[in-house]
């Protein structure tokens, strides 16, 4: 075959092929895989990749949503729709203790994330005995993630030991684990935020409408623009929701996620705004700012995804 007849694969084609290869390896080698599904744009891409990897079969694992009950209404709607369309089982887990104690983002701050998400995830994985969990984390998101393997092992207590990671060569993944250990698998490790957006654009992957600008009721609080999504949002004295054209760069629990004022109502406009913006993606989330520069590294050692 001569040069002229070669097919040139684009970077997105190579990244897609890599992610699909990883998902198939996990399904072939793990006993009980699961895909963590947070309904964000990275989850949307992960789900789409899973459908491609196993087509015409439905992906041979369930979706797991570790819910906090504090997601935006639009997120719950898309979640249920996508589970239905993909033919996959949807498992929703609520930490019973957080439920009972009424842990919420307004009154409990960091405890909210810890109990609903970090603890909730551990409990859910233990409950269903999942030994491999797909996550949509990317190496471009944060410093300690840049060093994490694609197959990342967790101890029985779900801790991560960054100094003792298995070597990972070529595309040969060692999925063998010791009793009690589980694996977090990150098929889109090598994608950037732009890649994710571009992939959504090219493949018309459905995402939550909150990523697009629209007039929504908001209040400004502690330097963040918060959306008043339902009646559970406690207004402080003097606060009156104001209609603003806003959108979200990342989606978490609604009071913990700040919106940005924007008029970007189409995907290319959103991508345009993302590329021209000067604040990095996770800045909208309060969670990474704890514990100085090493915030995420510490959280992960404790078992945060």
């Amino acid at each position: 075959m001569s040069d002229s007849t070669r097919t040139t694969l684009t970077h997105l084609q190579r990244l897609e092929a890599e992610a699909i290869h990883i998902m198939r390896e996990v399904v072939a080698e793990a006993e009980r895989p699961v895909m963590l599904y947070s309904v964000g744009k990275d989850s949307a891409v992960m789900l789409h990749l899973a459908r491609k990897a196993f087509y015409p079969s439905p992906p041979p694992f369930p979706l797991l949503h570790v819910d906090t009950t504090w997601k935006f209404r639009d997120m719950y709607a898309l979640r249920d729709r996508m589970a239905n369309e993909s033919g996959m089982e949807l498992l929703v887990y609520h930490n019973p203790e957080a439920m009972e104690r009424g842990i919420n983002p307004f009154d409990h701050g960091a405890l909210h994330t810890d109990m609903w998400k970090t603890e909730g995830l551990k409990q859910a994985l233990d409950k269903w005995q999942f030994d491999a969990a797909f996550g949509g984390a990317r190496r471009d998101e944060e410093k300690s993630r840049a060093k994490e393997r694609i197959f990342s092992f967790r101890s029985a207590s779900h801790g991560w030991d960054p100094k003792n990671q298995r070597p990972e060569l070529w595309n040969l993944y060692n999925a063998r684990k010791n009793k009690g250990e589980s694996i977090r698998v990150f098929p889109i490790s090598n994608w950037t935020e732009l890649d994710v957006w571009q992939y959504i654009h090219l493949n018309q992957v459905p995402i939550v409408p909150l990523y697009f600008a629209e007039k929504r009721p908001t209040v400004e609080r502690d330097g963040m623009l918060l959306m008043v999504d339902d009646e559970r949002f406690p207004l402080r004295p003097g606060e009156v929701p104001v209609e603003r054209s806003i959108r979200f760069r990342t989606l978490g629990c609604y009071p913990l996620t700040g919106a940005v004022e924007s008029t970007a109502s189409t995907l290319p406009q959103v991508i345009q705004e993302t590329l021209l913006t000067t604040t990095s993606e996770r800045q909208g989330r309060a969670i990474d700012k704890d514990a100085g520069g090493a915030g995420m590294e510490v959280k992960k050692q404790q078992g945060y995804f």
Binding site: Q13, K147, P167, L169, T279, A294
Partner: protein, 636 residues
Amino acid sequence: MSGDVIYQTEALIAEDIDAYLEQHQHKTMLRFITCGSVDDGKSTLIGRLLYDSKMIFEDQLAALETDSKKVGTQGQEIDFALLVDGLAAEREQGITIDVAYRFFNTEKRKFIVADCPGHEQYTRNMITGASTADLAVILIDARKGVLTQTRRHTYLCHLIGIRNIVLAVNKMDLVDYSQEVFDGIVADYAAFAKSIGIQDFTAMPISGFKGDNITTHSPNTHWYKGPTLVDHLETVEVITSQDQDKPFRMPVQWVNRPNLDFRGFSGLIATGSVKPGNAVRVLPSGKTSTVTRVVTLDGDLDEAVAGQSVTVCFADEIDCSRGDVISIADTPPQVADQFETTIVWLNDEPLHVGRAYWLKLATQTVSVTVQHPKYAVNVNTMEHIAVKTLDLNAIGVAEIATDRQIVFEPYEANRTLGGFILVDKLTNATVAAGMLHFSLRRAQNVHWQPTDVTRADHAKLKNQTPKVLWFTGLSGAGKSTIANEVEKRLAIMNRHTFLLDGDNVRHGLNKDLGFTEADRIENIRRVGEVAKLMVDAGLIVLTAFISPFRAEREMVRKMLGEGEFVEIYVDTPLEVAEARDVKGLYKKARSGQLKNFTGIDSPYEAPPAPEIRVNTAEMSAEEAAEYIIRQLMPLK
């Protein structure tokens, strides 16, 4: 990616996002590594590439400025290295421990940079980063020239098969951009490169700190006419496009079977391309068929090429499953079970010669043993040194034998079918990476001879179920005595037995073996093979060996059929065995006359779940034998 280009890119994003997306969509991808220690300015160079390509956001930049003043090594100036060193321990110590992956784009390409640690104790991390790279940037401090670590990094890159090497002579600002200095370093490097078989490399004078020849030609090096670093990275050919020219190979990952009407084979195409109508062969079986469809969610493809993940369907219902390799019919890859390899040891626990490990190559996982290394390579001097084993970070050439045939190609021809990892069967750690060079001919010439009187026939004639009763325990625990008692009772019951005793075997079959760890492993392997032959002959075999290592007992268990291996743990506390000291060996070991004695200066790994356990501190040899017989009943 020069200043102008950045401006144009930004302008394009701002003015015509659709045009920008169209451009970005068609970018190709290059994966490369940077080698060199922090002192060579490696992290600074990567930080510079990220910075110049606008991959640093404003808030990160603000944090960078604060951090630079607090812990940076560049005084009041921005320390780009801090962008790259991610783990807390690395920031504190100012070194890079693990591979970090970074991303940036130019107009033509997306880049993934593996930033690898340079110190010798992190060779394994460097190999990890290099294994997926298309290109290596080897940094040299212009003030220091070619150093030991330059040679080491170059050797490792060459070993792992990186054919595009960039020699970046850095810190040119600190030698007044001297052409003489540059030429001298390039000449030194060329001599070394040639000596290890590197034909070609691209040298360039740069300053990561000042930005010379990174994205634009520097006015300070008017004598340099070659490309800038980014120009070169944007235009060099990537491996996957070369792979398309090779014969079609696709390791099967998963059989896709949603219903009775569809049966497809999913995998990532390693080399070549495939179209409907192509005649293909499935290895190792050698069965052939024709491709009918190349299936994806986006519709069937007319052609798929190396680097794509697809699902293919055949015209015939032939056997094909995970681990098989689908190949073009007329030029299939080879199949063998013994190879010469280069192995890079990645684990703190050294190689155990003769021990069984898992070998994973493409989607095949088999049991493998490694022979005594022929030699190891001193990565600093390239000298071949005689070694008994391979320790952490050691690189050696050794023969390996797999327990069944695998589909392979030499690593030089095909990374996917020639690169493998070794996994410890007990700890599950990835302990080594290796590259297959060629198969050993004896494997191809020795064929299994089928016999008409089968092992089942042998067993039936003797009216018994053949087994191995494997007695393990400390020296002086009573293994031989109890095994002898058990055999006497079996003989009375008209059973056909044979007792293999540790001391006796060492007088004959194993008289060439000593008591080092490697020899002990080989001792057990041979006994296991002999026991297996006797089981094939229909016998109940009793063995009495200390067999201190769990891994070797498991190896023997795996040689035999389900239920044929009965592990009998003769559990005697060390004090009791030592007090008996029938052969006077403990005394010798305690006084240092006897080395590697189990329980004294060599470990005994007790079985966690033996089929039968007897405690000789609590029962006599006769009682233990009676107990074992009761556990074994019925014997048919």
